[in-house]
Every structure is written in C-alpha cells, then in structure tokens.
Symmetry: C5
Subunit: 352 residues, 5 copies
Amino acid sequence: MALQDLKGVSGVSVSEADPAGSERRPAQPRQGVVAAAVYRGGIRIADIAVEEAAAWREREEAVIWIGLHEPDDELLLQVQDAFDLHELAIEDARHAHQRPKLEIYGDAMFVVARTAHMMNDEIVFGETHLFVGRGYVVSVRHGASSSYNLVRQRCEASPAALAHGENYILYSILDFVVDNYMPVIEAIHAEIEALEERVLREQLGKADIERLYLLRRNLLRLRNAVVPLVDVCRRHEHLDLPGMDDALHNLFRDVTDHVRRVQEDIDSLREVLAFTFEASLMIGQAEQTIIARKLASWAAILAVPTAIAGIYGMNFHDMPELSFRYGYFVVLAAILTICAVLYRLFRRARWL
Amino acid sequence: MALQDLKGVSGVSVSEADPAGSERRPAQPRQGVVAAAVYRGGIRIADIAVEEAAAWREREEAVIWIGLHEPDDELLLQVQDAFDLHELAIEDARHAHQRPKLEIYGDAMFVVARTAHMMNDEIVFGETHLFVGRGYVVSVRHGASSSYNLVRQRCEASPAALAHGENYILYSILDFVVDNYMPVIEAIHAEIEALEERVLREQLGKADIERLYLLRRNLLRLRNAVVPLVDVCRRHEHLDLPGMDDALHNLFRDVTDHVRRVQEDIDSLREVLAFTFEASLMIGQAEQTIIARKLASWAAILAVPTAIAGIYGMNFHDMPELSFRYGYFVVLAAILTICAVLYRLFRRARWL
Amino acid sequence: MALQDLKGVSGVSVSEADPAGSERRPAQPRQGVVAAAVYRGGIRIADIAVEEAAAWREREEAVIWIGLHEPDDELLLQVQDAFDLHELAIEDARHAHQRPKLEIYGDAMFVVARTAHMMNDEIVFGETHLFVGRGYVVSVRHGASSSYNLVRQRCEASPAALAHGENYILYSILDFVVDNYMPVIEAIHAEIEALEERVLREQLGKADIERLYLLRRNLLRLRNAVVPLVDVCRRHEHLDLPGMDDALHNLFRDVTDHVRRVQEDIDSLREVLAFTFEASLMIGQAEQTIIARKLASWAAILAVPTAIAGIYGMNFHDMPELSFRYGYFVVLAAILTICAVLYRLFRRARWL
Amino acid sequence: MALQDLKGVSGVSVSEADPAGSERRPAQPRQGVVAAAVYRGGIRIADIAVEEAAAWREREEAVIWIGLHEPDDELLLQVQDAFDLHELAIEDARHAHQRPKLEIYGDAMFVVARTAHMMNDEIVFGETHLFVGRGYVVSVRHGASSSYNLVRQRCEASPAALAHGENYILYSILDFVVDNYMPVIEAIHAEIEALEERVLREQLGKADIERLYLLRRNLLRLRNAVVPLVDVCRRHEHLDLPGMDDALHNLFRDVTDHVRRVQEDIDSLREVLAFTFEASLMIGQAEQTIIARKLASWAAILAVPTAIAGIYGMNFHDMPELSFRYGYFVVLAAILTICAVLYRLFRRARWL
Amino acid sequence: MALQDLKGVSGVSVSEADPAGSERRPAQPRQGVVAAAVYRGGIRIADIAVEEAAAWREREEAVIWIGLHEPDDELLLQVQDAFDLHELAIEDARHAHQRPKLEIYGDAMFVVARTAHMMNDEIVFGETHLFVGRGYVVSVRHGASSSYNLVRQRCEASPAALAHGENYILYSILDFVVDNYMPVIEAIHAEIEALEERVLREQLGKADIERLYLLRRNLLRLRNAVVPLVDVCRRHEHLDLPGMDDALHNLFRDVTDHVRRVQEDIDSLREVLAFTFEASLMIGQAEQTIIARKLASWAAILAVPTAIAGIYGMNFHDMPELSFRYGYFVVLAAILTICAVLYRLFRRARWL
C-alpha cells in the first residue's frame, strides 16, 4: 500500500484552521471518517467502510483501526453498533469537554486525552476519545488536534510492532499526544525567558503584564490536560489486559515517564512565573522609590531660587540688600551655590 | 399517565422565589409534599399519601418515591415511621446546613448534597437530603433548589431504567444535582472573563474589586458544596448494595466523573482569580509609576518659569539685565526653550 | 431527684469569670469537685464523695460520673487511686496545655479536648480532660469552659440512653464541646461580614487592621482546637470498646460529622479572611492611585497662575504687555481659561 | 554516690560558650568523656574508663551509659571497638550536621536528634547522636547543647525506672531534648507578641523588620529540628525492641505526643508571623495613603496665597484693584478665608 | 596498577568547558570512552575495548565497568549489543533530559540521575545514565558533569568493598553524585547570606533583585534534580537484587539519608528566599514612607517663605507694612521662625 494512498483520506472533515491535518481520499469520502482499515499481522489488508466493521470484527487476528474527526451522531451510532460500545462512552464522545480518564465498560476500554499543539504561534487545545477493545481501535478527535495519520504511517512502517494489535495502536497514539506537548512547552519556555529578561530590566508595561497573565492561563490549561493523564497511564499499568506482554508494558511505562517529565516541566514553569511576578513587584517598587527620590531632590533644588527670589521680590521700602552694589550678583551666586551643593549632596546619597 | 398530571402535583409548598419548580396537584394538596408515587417495573402504579407508604412498602417489587420540600416536623415523623428511618438522620434532615455526606444506618442510606443553580443572574444555594432503602426513596429539599419533578418525568419516560428501583432514582437525582452545577460555573466563568479584560486594560475600581471579591466567595461556597460530593460518590462505589448491577455502577461512575470535572473547573477558576489578583496588583503598581513620572515631569517643567521669573522679579536696584533691550523677550525665549527641551527629554525617556 | 438538687453542686470552684457555670451544692462543698454521682440503668442512685468512688466501682452495673474543675494535686491523687489511672495521664491532667488526643492506658481511655465559647463578646478557650473506663467517667475542666452540669441534666432526662453507661456519657460531653464551637464560629462570621463591608467601601484604618489580625489569630487558635479532635473521633471509631453497640456508633459518627463541619466552616472563614486581605490591598492601591491623580491634577492647574503671574511680575524695563490697555484683564482671563480647560481635561480623564 | 561527684565530671571538654553544662571530674579527666558508668538494677555500680567498656559489656544485667562531648577520632574508635558500632554510624557521629533519624544497624540503634536551648537570650542549636544496644547507651553531643548529667541524676534518683535499662535511658534523653524546646518556643512567642503590638501601632522600622526576619529563620531552623523527630518517635514505636514493655511504650508515646505539641506550636507561630507580615503591609499602605492625603491637602492650601499673591505682584500699569482702598486687606482676607475653607473641607474628608 | 595510568584515559571526549574532568589515555583513545576495565574480586584484571565486553561478560566472577561521556550512536549500539540493553533505555541515554528515575528492564536496571557541581562560581548541571546488570556497570555522562574516575580510584583503593560487584559500583557513583550537591548548596547558601544582609540594610537595587531571581531559579533546578532521586533511592531499597547484602543495604540507606538531607537544605533555602522577598517588600515600603514624609516635610517648610514673600511682593498701593521701619527684618525673622518651628515639629514626629 503506497504511502500516498494513506495520506489522503477524507479532507472534508478537516476545518480550515487545521491545514496540518488536511487529508484527502478520492473514493467514498465520508464526512467525519479520516481513515478506516483492517490489519493482520501488522499489515494493512483492507480499507473498509464503517458499515463493514462489524463483519470484519468477527474474523480471527484482524485488527480494525478507525480514525474519526468530529463525527456526526449517525456515524457515531454506526460505530457503536459495530463494536457494541457502551452508551455512556458514546455520550461522552458526542460532547467533548471530558476530563482525561480511562474507563472500563465490560471488556472495552474508553480513554479520553486532551491534546495541545502549536499553530501559528498560538497554543491550540483539542480532545481525543479512544475506544479500544479486542481487535479494534476507534479514535475520535475533537477540536484542532493533529491528525493521527502520521501515527498510522509510523505504525505501518514497523509491522512487527503493529502486529501486537490494539494495545500497540493505543500506545502509539498516546505517545504521539504526549510528544506533541513538548513543542508547546518549549514555546512557552521561550516566551517566559524573553519576558524574564524584560522583567529584570525595568517595570513591566501593560502589554507585558497581559502576556504574563495569558502565559499563566495557558500553563494552567496545559496542566489540566496533562496531570490527569498521569493517572490514566498509572491505571492502564494496573489493568490486566489481554495481549499486554513485557515489551508493551515497557512502552507504556515509557509514556508514563514522559508525561511525568512534561508535568514536572509545567510545574517548574509555573513556579518560574510566580518568581517573575514577585521579581516584577520588587522592580516596580524599586522604580517607584527611585522616582520618588528624584522628584523630592529636584523639588528641593528648585525651591531654593523660588524662595530666595521671592524674598527679594518683596516691596518693603526698607530692604538694605536691594541697594547694595553687586547685591543682585551675590544673591544669584548664592542661589547657584546652594543649588549646586544640594545637587552634590543628593548625588552622593544616590537620590539623583 | 399523562405528563400533564405529573407536572402539577403540589404547588403549595413552592415558595414564590422558585417559579421554575412550580407544581400543582388538584387533589389532596398537602403542605410540604411535592409528589408521592409507587412504581412497579418502572411504571407508576399509584399516587399515594404519605400515610399509605408503610402499607405499600410491604408489597413485593414496589418502589415508593416521595419528594418533600421543607417539610414540617409532623410530616417528617410520618415519613420516619413509614420507613423506620434513623433518629439522627431525621434530626439532620430537620435542620439543614449539613455537609454533603453518605451515611449508612442499618440497611438504609442517608445522603446529603448541596445544590446550586442560577436564578435571575444570582447563584442560589440549597440542600437536598435523600433517604434510600430497599424499595423507597425519600428526597427532602431545603432552600431554593430546583424541584426534582423534572427528574421524575425523565425517569418515568424510560421505565426499563426506572425498573432498577431505588438506586436508579438516587442516581437520577444526583446526576440532576451535578448537572445543575454547570450553568453556575459557566455564569461565573463568563463574569471572570469580563473582569479579566478590565483588569488587563486598567486598574480596577472599587465596584470591580467588590465583584472580584464576591466571585471568590461564591466559588468557595460552590467548592464546599462540590468537593465533599466526590467523597460521597467514592463511598457509594465501595458499598455492597443490593440491586447494584454493572449498568448502575457505570452510571454512578459517570456521576463521579462529572463531579470531578466540576471540581477541576472550580479549581481552575479559583486559580485564574488568583492570577487576576496578581495581574491587578501589577497593573496598579505600573499605573502608579506612570502617574508619579508624569507628576515629576510636569513639576520640573513648570518650575522653570517660576524660578526664572522669580529672579527677574527681585527688586535689586542694580540688575543690569532689566534694562537690556529685548531682555524680557530673551528671558521669555529662554524659558520656553528650556521647557521645550525638558519636555522632549521626558518624552524620550517615556516619562511623558 | 429534683433538678434543683442537680443544679447546685459546688459553687466554690467556679471563678467569677464564669457566671454561666455557677453551681451550688449545700452539703459537702469540696473545692474542685463539681459533681459526683453513681448511676444504675441510667438512674442516679447516689451522690458520692470522691473517696467513696473506689468502693462503688466494684459493684455490678454501677456507673460513676465525677466532674472536676481545676482540681488540686491531692484531689487528683484520690481520683487516680480510686480508678487506677495511669501516672502519665494524671500528669497531663495536672498541667493543662495538652493537644486534643485520645490515649489508651491499659483498659482506660484518656481524652483531651479544647473548648471554646463566647463570653461577653470575647472568645474564651478552655481544656477538658476525660478519663473513661469500665464503669466510670471523670471529667477535668481547665480554664473558663462551660460547666458540664447541663450535659448531666440532659443525660439524666433520658435514662434509657444513659443506661448505655460511660460511652454515652463520653459522647454527651464531646457533643456538648462541639456544639459550643458553633456560637463562636457564628460570632466570628458576623464580625467578618461587618469587616468585609468596610473593606469594600474604603481602605481599612488601623483599628480595622488590628481587628482583622485578631480574627485571624482567633480562628487559628480555634482551628488548633478543632482539627486534632477530628483525629480523636476517628481513632475512637476504630477502637473495639466494650459496650459500644450500633446506636452508640451512630452517635459518635454524628459527632465526628459535626466536628468536620466545624472544621470546614473554620477553613472557609480563614480563606475569606485571606480574600479580605487581598481585596484590602487592592482597594488601598486604588485609593493611592486616586489620590496621586488628584494631587497631580491640582498641582498642574495651580501651577498655571503662578507661572504666568511670575512672568508679568518681572521687573524688565521694556515689557510692552505691561502697558497694554486691559493687558491685566487679558492675562487674568487667559489664566482662568487655561485653568478651566485643564480642569475639564482632567475631569474627562477621570483624574478629578 | 554523692550528687556532687556526679555533677563534676569533665570540665575540659566544655566550651566557654556553655556555662550551663560546666562539669568537673577530679580523677581521670579525659578529653571528650563527660561521664561513663555501669548500672545494675538501676543502681550505679561503677565508674569506668571507656577502655573497660568491652569487658563490662559481657556481664549479665549490666547497663553501660557513656556520655561524650565532641570526642576526637581516637575516642570514637575506642567506643566503636567496645560496642561493635557500625562504621557508617560512627562516620555520621564524627561529622555533625545529620538529619534527625533513627537507623538500625544489626541489633544496634543509632538515633540523631537536634537540640535547641536558650542561652543569653539567643537560641543555640546543637546535635546529639545516640548509640543504643543491648546493655549500653552512648550519647555524643555536638555544639552548645546542654549536658545530659541532669538526665543522669534524674535517672539515678529513680532506680526502679532506670532498671528498665537502655530503653529507659534513651527515653530520658529524648524527653530532656524535647523539654528543652519549650523555653525556646516561649522566648520566640514572647518576642512575637512584642512585635505584633508594634506592628499594629505603626509601620515597622528597619530594626523590627530585621527582627521579624530573624524570628522566621529561627523558627524554620527549629522546625527542621523538630519535624523529623516526629518520624523518629513513630519509627521507634513500631520497632520490636527487647525489653520494651507497656510502661516504656507509654513513656515513648508521651514523648511523641510532646514533640507533636511542639510542632503544632511552631506551625502556629509561623502562621502568626505570616499574619504579622500581611498586617504590616496593610499598615504600611494605610500609612502611605495618610501621608499622601496630608501632602496633597497642604499643597492645595498653600498654593492659594502663592497664586493670588502672584497675580497682584504682576507689574501691569493698569490694575485697578491695586489702587483700591483696603484692596490689600480685602485680598489678605480672601486668602485667609479660602485657606480656612479648604482646611475645613479637608478636615471633614479626613484627609487632614 | 599505578594511579597515574588510571587518571589519564581519554581526553578527547572532554569538552573545554570541563577542565576538572580532563583525562588522557595514551593507547587506543576512543571518542566517548573514558575508561573500560574488568575486575575480579575487587582487583582490576584488564583494560578492555568496548568490543571485548561481550566476551568478558560470560566469564565467572568478572565485573565489567565502562565509563562513557556523550557517546555517539555507534558506540551506544556496541554497548547495547554487548550487554543486551533494552531499546528504550538506550533511546533515553541517547537524548539527555530525562527525569531522575530507576527502571527495570528484564534483569537489568536503568538509573538516571542529574548532577550539579560548581565551576568558576557557576552552577553547572549534567546528567548521568547508568546501566547496571549482573556483572557490569555502564555509566553514560551528559553535559558538564565531573568525571567518575575519582570514583573508580576510590573503589580500586578498597578492593574488599569493590568485590561486592556492580551494586557497590552503583552505590559509589550515586554517593559521588550526591556528595557533589553539597558544595553547590553551600555556594548558594553563602550568596543568600550576602544578599540577606543587603536586604535588611536597604531596598534592593535591580542587580540584587536579578541575583535573587536567579538564585530562586537555580534552587528550583537543583530541587528538580534532587527530589526524584529520593524516589530512586527508595525504589532501589525495595528491589530484591542479587548480591545485595546487609552491608550494601546500609550503604544505600546512607545515600538515601544524604539525599534527604540535601532536599531539606534546599527546601530551607527556598523558604529563606521567600522570607527575603517579603522582608524586601517591607523594607521597600518603609523606604517609600520615609521618602514621602521627608518630601512632605520639606515642601511644607519651603512653602512658608514663598507664600509670605509672595504676599509682600504684591503691588497694592496701600500696604502699610511695607513702609514700617524694620518691617522687612520682622518678616524675615517671622519666616525663619516659622520654618524653624516646622522643622522641629517634623523632627519630633520623626518625619525628618
């Protein structure tokens, strides 16, 4: 099967906001179905329509892998019928906004994960629902998540691994989801580093404070996506699933480890942002002190000529200094001298 | 049984503050009783008076569902007698202000939940007490909570599910309670978003600070309602109740999941409000710095004419400049020049 | 037995600061002994002296209940001898300032609880030590706690319950202690509400800040009294005590629940006080900004006449404007116009 | 054995900074050995040299108790040889700066505790290492901790208790260490109370802020000493040690309880200091607002004579008011009136 | 084997940034291999090339210890082949930036630790990956960590200990890593002490705030390195590894203890930095208050001559004071007196 065939499956369901996931399938383009294929021994043996899934499911050794993107209710019902999926899980898959979780319904597993990736310098969040059972995996993407065709390609490129069946597919998708967190974290990290340089140079302006605020909110959102996933991975570890051998266990442990690393990074960044906030408060306070000192110093210096000149501007008839020769120049000199002395005093005290 | 009959049961007990829950029952309108019916196989077979409950309770397969709203002591005693409820649970039900909890008294379960819903853009909190035992459910509402007749209608609309008996009724009520948290959270969320836009534009005024403060208090109150409910759900999961099959377990797990999602949302909003507070402090500090700089700049600029004019306003007899031709104009020009230069310097330093 | 007899036992030991607990016993008033009686089947069969306790203890079915208030060492030794109490527990009971705890010494239980109640609008803290064993309860009160005669009266009013023996007495006292926390919390709550209204109206003055500070300290102290009591209740639940039947278990669970509710209230109030602090900081900052703006505005407006008048106060011989007809009035008008324009500008910018 | 003999053991090892622990032993004063004795049945039967310890160890029923203070390496090696102590424990004992901990090496216990006591109004921290095994206790003190001779005296005064052997000695030393925390906490408590009075009266000066800062650091250090000790006590409780009967268990539980009480006190004080910080911030902010208001008020009042006088100081030829009769007095009166009105307005607004 | 031989192994792989770890091996200098040797009974019996490792591995009692520094892919593959290392572990070792962790792959252990040491007054972070299995240890260093040749020397100096095999080598390396944290903590500690002295003397300048900020970030990074290591040590304790006897267990427990002590130190320093931040805020606020008071005081004092002189500078024809004899001097004296009185008042109020 040519890679080219795989890549273009169903471009109709792809929103304009998601050019990265644009796919096209010349024949039977069905709204919401990104790809649907049957594998045996890790080799793709047929592309199927969703309606045929139930029939294929009964065959020995066949693994059906269907990828959906924001399916309509009719399509979801077909999938539900084909794999006997539980009503509650289908209900969850219909409305997005679920917490990342792993639920067991009879002998089927329902996994929810939140996705995040960078798109035009913006963080875009999405949600993926996975139905996994003996011999099938159905993935349902919501929002602007990356298409899993890349995962499918990679899996098909190593048939020996893919021969492990549905658990390997589940691992591949989770691994992909977690891998996609990394560039998001790196982007946030870069922005924080740019911000902290500004923080330490001068008091932040409104635009920077807004940026800081949005960074904190995005990190919070990312954290809400990642933290429950640690639990999902831990729960999966303790399930006694058919077909989970040591090799697969190691792979899942690797994902768990990766999620934890992501969580640690997020927590560090959150703490750094808290430090940034505190440093910014301190810088702002120091700035205010500097301005207050400067204001006080100049006010003092400029009050001298005003006060002295005011006194010699009085209209008393009998003010002997006024008729002194060079009195004016002496006063001018006195004013300048006092101002100069004050200036030096303030300078020495580091107020100016 | 017509829906119309179901809807109007006992309008007497409904306070004017709760138009949403207005119900009417033509016959035997008893103060405090919203509805009382017996079900068999999920079908409502009779509307009963509270006094008849004890008799019905002995019949096989019958499930009694009674809904009360702020019952008086006499009514509570009748209910207690009919179902042999424990004194302490009745005591709790009499006085509201209980923590959400699940208690087992003999073979009866006593559940307390706090409700919250929006009414005229205000969050209104209430409390619901549930007595659940073999063959009966008694709900006692306190405060301005929504009536559970909507729950009853929905249950009666799916008799197959209602045939599960008291546990299904308990599930339906809890599900309804948790569902009602969502619009409250959404309203708070909308208000926070409006607030955070203002926070990032300028320093908050007193009205906004008050709004922020009240939001925090309401979120705290909502959290106090929701968090112990997670424990209630978890405890219920580990009870070995008669009639709890897999299907019901899945439903209760779904409620638990929903409550957790609500808690996560609340915690996120709380954290966002904390960010808002910090951003507001920073914006306020930046605002003060800006004002201090402007004040200092204009003070400096305006001190120039005052000081120079003061000097040439002195009355010394011998001030040669005074008799210079165009002396006045030179000084005027000097003043304007110095002011202009200062203005540009401050401008360049972004103080003005 | 007449209530009158019960009420007045030993007024000598009651400090003047505790009029609520004033009791009097005409015969044998012994310093430190508030009441000492023997019960059988829930009925008070005899009032005894502490010295007789050991003899009564050997009789079947008798329950001895002794109430002490700040006993001297001699009295404590007598009690120790009568009930074979452990040295360490007696040591603890001698010096107050223990953490709330539950200890088992052999077959005797030693419980410490901290009490709090309102007295003349002030929160007063005390400490109660309880020795509980097969057939006896000894309570030792320290500080200004309420007398337990009210508990005794209530117990004697329901002999069926009191027939449960020492565990019921222990329950009654703990229930009373926890009930007494409620008015304290309500008083604090009322004060916080008064304070938060002031916080949201204007910046707090020193007296309010002090009040806020003291509220926080009192809440902290109350919390230190209540939180370990949750542990005490939980430990009691897991003890395998003789005579603890289901009914008693339910009662103790009710107390535990009550303590938890108290703790939740305290934590909420603490959080509200933290919000109050933050709101107060924000209000204070907003206030400072407003003042700075006003100061800057008026300084700018008033600098105008000063600067212009200064210029026309110069003594240059050749200042053509000075001899203009109506020059003075033109300048006056110019000054007024500039000031008025500035005023409107500042007004529009909401600086004034 | 006379108390006098016991008191003076080895003054050489005592630093000048520790007069409280000054001891002297006339015979065999060995550097680093404070006391070394053998007990049987709670009675001191011989004073020994460290070299003789190994020989004594083999005798039945003998308990060796050696107290060292900052021993040199040679002495530590002798002790290690005598009791077969583990290399790692000796290594720890050589270099102080260990965390409080309890380690088991074979059948010997190694306990580390941090000590704290008041000396000349300063908190002094030290460290004690204890080697406890069948029939011996070796204590090694580092830093300015109190001598344990007081403990030895108390133990010898109650031979029945001391007859319990090494576990009783361990208890006595731990109890002494924990008891010594109390005066430290009381001293800190007194200082905090003095500070909080100042905090609530006016904004803190630099000296007070420094004091506050040092208090927080000392509390942190004390907390680091105490908190791990709770774990040490808990671990000890769960050890199955030979010779630990119920009586000893109760004693150790008493120490645990005491440590917990100390920890609770420390945590309360830490929280009070946090409240103090926040109250101080609020007082400081209120202070600044008051000053800003006063400054603004006086600036406004004083600007009036300056502006008006400036206008009448202008040199226009045609200023009719100047030649009005009493014009000067009218203007003077106007100035005074305006200033007085402003003053009253500011007064009423509580700005002055 | 001479120490000299040991020291110089492979200088090629050492980056210029790491002069401390510079090594040279005259023969077979292979890029990335720092040392590779075989031990039997704790004695180095041969230096080997990585290619020979597989052959040596089959011999009884031989322990192979290979030290790598930033190996290229080819070298890693050779090592993987020689010891059958797991693909995922090799993958981790290729890309650094792993969390400290301990993983078991079959019968091999994979340990990740983060290193930190001081270099030219800068903290330098690195990463070490350890593959440990029956009869071999492979260490892979990334970044500027210290070479482990010092560890190798120490191990070879005590053959009896080294005879314990791979577990002893693992212990030695972990011990070395943890020991290297200490100078880093001491350097941070010294800097914090310098900073806190400045904090308490005056408001921090921008350079100090930046220093404070960087200290916090470095401590955070160090904490991220150390905290997961506590888990690694704890996990190791509970592994049932071949060849782990009591002596080794004690050694590993000693490392665990050391890591915990390091963590406690880091947490204390973090808390001290938080105190420093708060103290700095308070000092800054106090500073601003002082400046505001000084500014207000001088403004008031200097407003006096201006206002009075302004009044006598008015040009009214009829101002009787102007023609008073000594009027000018009286006014001068009045001005000076008022200023002096104000000065003393401000002085007394501690505003000046």
